[in-house]
């Protein structure tokens, strides 16, 4: 389809393991966002990219979290040494261009991470 694609849709892992979550944005969208969402709550900002560079990573909780977007398209959110508190739905969104302060974000369906 033409929407934002996130994989995996569900990931169950054990405490201490490494996890990668992938986001494939809408073709041609230069801005890409990562959010984390707990049940019934609003999305919590993690990081956003303009092209290949991270424009704002102030929402990353600590240095166990890292995200890349090497070619300005697909992005990967990497979580090292996972903890139970990392369990959440991780949402990815893209928009046509960063800096457009009225731009619509198009979201994927999210990756549900469960850390046992």
């Amino acid at each position: 389809g033409a929407g934002v694609s996130q994989t995996p849709s569900n990931k169950v892992t054990e405490k201490g393991k490494y996890v990668e979550l992938r986001c494939d944005p809408i073709s041609g969208h230069t801005a890409l966002y990562w959010y984390r969402q707990s049940l019934g709550q609003g999305p919590e900002f993690l990081i956003y990219f303009q092209g290949t560079g991270a424009a704002d990573d102030s929402g990353l909780p600590n240095d166990r979290f890292f995200a890349v977007r090497p070619e300005g398209s697909v992005s990967t959110l990497k979580i090292q040494r996972t903890e139970r508190g990392d369990s959440a739905v991780y949402l990815c969104a893209s928009s046509l261009r960063a800096g457009d302060l009225t731009g619509e974000l198009f979201f994927g369906e999210g990756s549900r991470l469960t850390v046992l």
């Binding site: 609003g42 900002f45 704002d56 009225t102 198009f106």
Partner: protein, 111 residues
């Protein structure tokens, strides 16, 4: 840190009733957006308001942006079960360019 506070956090009403959801901040935002999210899906944009005092209508939904661009409201007239979902306000920060979300309002409309 810019924050958006929504109220109420949870609302359960009967079909046909009217309701208002509020979104407040101490900070000025360049624009305010409202999204709706259903279980298992990502949020979907309903509206963007840009000008202080702006009012936009989308069928039974009315959105207002405060004069000072610090607050917004969403009013639903004659709510229907299909309106059930999580309603989220979000603001763009002009100095960072990131979109910040409120904590959401869960609306349940009973038939």
């Amino acid at each position: 840190t810019q924050l958006l506070e929504q109220s109420p956090q949870f609302l359960s009403i009967q079909e046909g009733e009217n309701l208002t959801v509020y979104c407040n901040s101490s900070s000025v935002f360049s624009s305010l957006q409202w999204y709706r999210q259903e279980p298992g899906e990502g949020p979907v944009l309903l509206v963007t308001v840009v000008t202080g005092g702006e009012v936009k209508k989308l069928k039974r939904l009315t959105f207002q942006f405060g004069d000072a661009r610090k607050d917004s409201s969403l009013h639903i007239t004659a709510a229907q079960p299909g309106d059930t979902g999580l309603y989220l306000c979000a603001g763009y920060s002009s100095n960072t360019g990131k979109l910040i979300f409120g904590q959401g309002t869960t609306l349940q409309v009973k038939p």
